[in-house]
């Protein structure tokens, strides 16, 4: 059984305490205090820090821009298109992985799901925590219920560090195409700039 190192320390503290078995409440309280005392910087596994290849491009449009993303499966397409959007707002190579944010979206159909997913990514940047993601990992993708759970890895947008690109105003359904067939996994979505 794999017990994380932190948990071990906690058990250690508990065993060598006053010995009174007041049970769950005291342990929980100690656990909360223990976690609160941890420093704020996040630690990431090498796997989390590894960057995926770039599988997206930007296509011309008179007033906006069309994101085209592809991959080995639909999940990868969604991950790539989110990074494509962030990459339009700044130079993505200047973004480090120092923080992460989990998001969850749902919709009634696949197009709606893509829309909600990108809208949530945009919201995470536009309001607290002002996060720009270098890497997006979808942890759950339910194609029947149309729900997605994902983790965004990146950092808070900093004018001093990140060059200003083009602002993304909104996600649109304009000419949205999602292909999920054997041998063809790609999607097109137009974002309003």
């Amino acid at each position: 059984m794999k017990v994380p190192a932190l948990r071990c320390q906690l058990l250690f503290l508990f065993v060598f305490s006053t010995g009174q078995r007041s049970g769950a409440t005291r342990a929980a309280h100690r656990e909360v205090e223990f976690y609160r005392s941890q420093p704020k910087t996040m630690e990431f596994t090498p796997e989390e820090l590894e960057l995926p290849p770039c599988k997206y491009e930007y296509l011309d449009h008179p007033a906006d821009v069309q994101l085209h993303a592809w991959g080995d499966n639909l999940t990868e397409c969604f991950e790539q298109v989110a990074v494509a959007m962030y990459g339009y707002m700044t130079e993505i190579d200047k973004v480090e992985i120092l923080d992460k944010q989990e998001i969850e979206v749902s919709s009634d159909d696949m197009q709606g799901l893509l829309f909600q997913f990108l809208d949530e990514c945009l919201f995470v940047f536009s309001a607290e925590p002002f996060l720009i993601a270098r890497k997006v990992v979808i942890t759950e993708f339910d194609k029947e219920a149309f729900t997605i759970k994902a983790t965004l890895y990146g950092e808070e947008f900093d004018l001093a560090k990140h060059p200003q690109g083009t602002e993304v105003k909104a996600i649109t359904y304009a000419s949205m195409q999602i292909y999920d067939n054997p041998g063809q996994h790609e999607l097109f979505v137009i974002i309003d700039i």
Partner: protein, 440 residues
Amino acid sequence: MFDELRNACRPGMVGGFLPAMKQIANVAALPGIVGRSVGLPDVHSGYGFAIGNMAAFDMDNPKAVVSPGGVGFDINCGVRLLRTNLMENDVKPIKEQLAQSMFDHIPVGVGSKGIIPMTARDLEEALEMGMDWSLREGYIWAEDKEHCEEYGRMAQADPAKVSMRAKKRGLPQLGTLGAGNHYAEIQVVDEIYDKWAASKMGIEEKGQVCVMIHSGSRGFGHQVATDALVAMEKAMKRDGIDTNDRQLACARINSPEGQDYLKSMAAAANFAWVNRSSMTFLSRQAFAKMFQTSPDDLDMHVIYDVSHNIAKIEQHWVEGKLRTLLVHRKGSTRAFPPHHPLIPVDYQLTGQPVLIGGTMGTCSYVLTGTEQGMMETFGSTCHGALQSQHMSTRTVTQHDGTTCTTHLECAIELATSHQAPRRDLSSRLCLPRSLVVAHR
């Protein structure tokens, strides 16, 4: 416009977009439309409606619809022009410093945050009161309101109808210019065609310096539009509204979704007016500091403030009868003629000033509305199509004092895949009378 159509008609197109011509046609098929679906001279493809599209709907027809696509994502994106007492010769020797001063005062670009202190409570009040809030807080002069469409405040605004998401997006961005085709530009009058009308606006002679601010409701408006589109998609299924295009999401004007949208759109419009007012304040400060004087002494009055992404309830003569219409203007500026009750007293004889901002390298124009425009397009004209930015060069000019000294446009390079020259407006302005040309 014809290029778009040509490209779209090529067989085997994957990943393309609907050309403007087809979009104007789709709009003409919407229920409750009165008169024509008009494409203005600078029309190009947009979301649902083309950009540069005007369409009016009958408020008395229960089937008539309201569509967020007909307003645009950047609700109340508009242009404001300020005059000054300065001449080109006063500004020329210090233009780099002046541009820098403007940059220092006005937050601009992706990820920029407003420097005017705002709490959530302030935002609620600003959404409800529009420029009245700016006046109360001391950011504007009382006469600024006079020279603004709707006097800077749409009364039907209801902040309660706006989602928390939109407010969260809007709060940090109030008082920022934005990115893309937004700008705050110091301009010089190049040519005056109608001296009398120009002098009514405070433009006396060639070489006079003006400031043009082009901005909208930032992330707030975008989120309001997005939220409305999602809500209306559901309403369309319920009410059985059929359109030719999924993006033409709309709802009956009298339905809860329609009414909610109009109220939150008005709140977003107020946000944009407060935003432009904040930038007016910051521009005045920048100039005052530079010239060691006060904005009063520089006579930096607002000439006018126009919106080119908005829906308004107006009365128009249709086939001899006065009707109440919901006029959607997307990428289209209102241009009311002389003696119209909704334009300020100062401009009753000249007609409403119409501000058409140019793109980099081309001129901006100040025009006046005409009766003919009123008849043909319900008093609407173009907005000065600003072609989008292409990824090829995302140079931000603010740090490069040599190439760009008199304007603050971000992400400027315009390039399309066809390498077409930037559209010059001079050949396209037909309905309004040409008045003053301001040169960069």
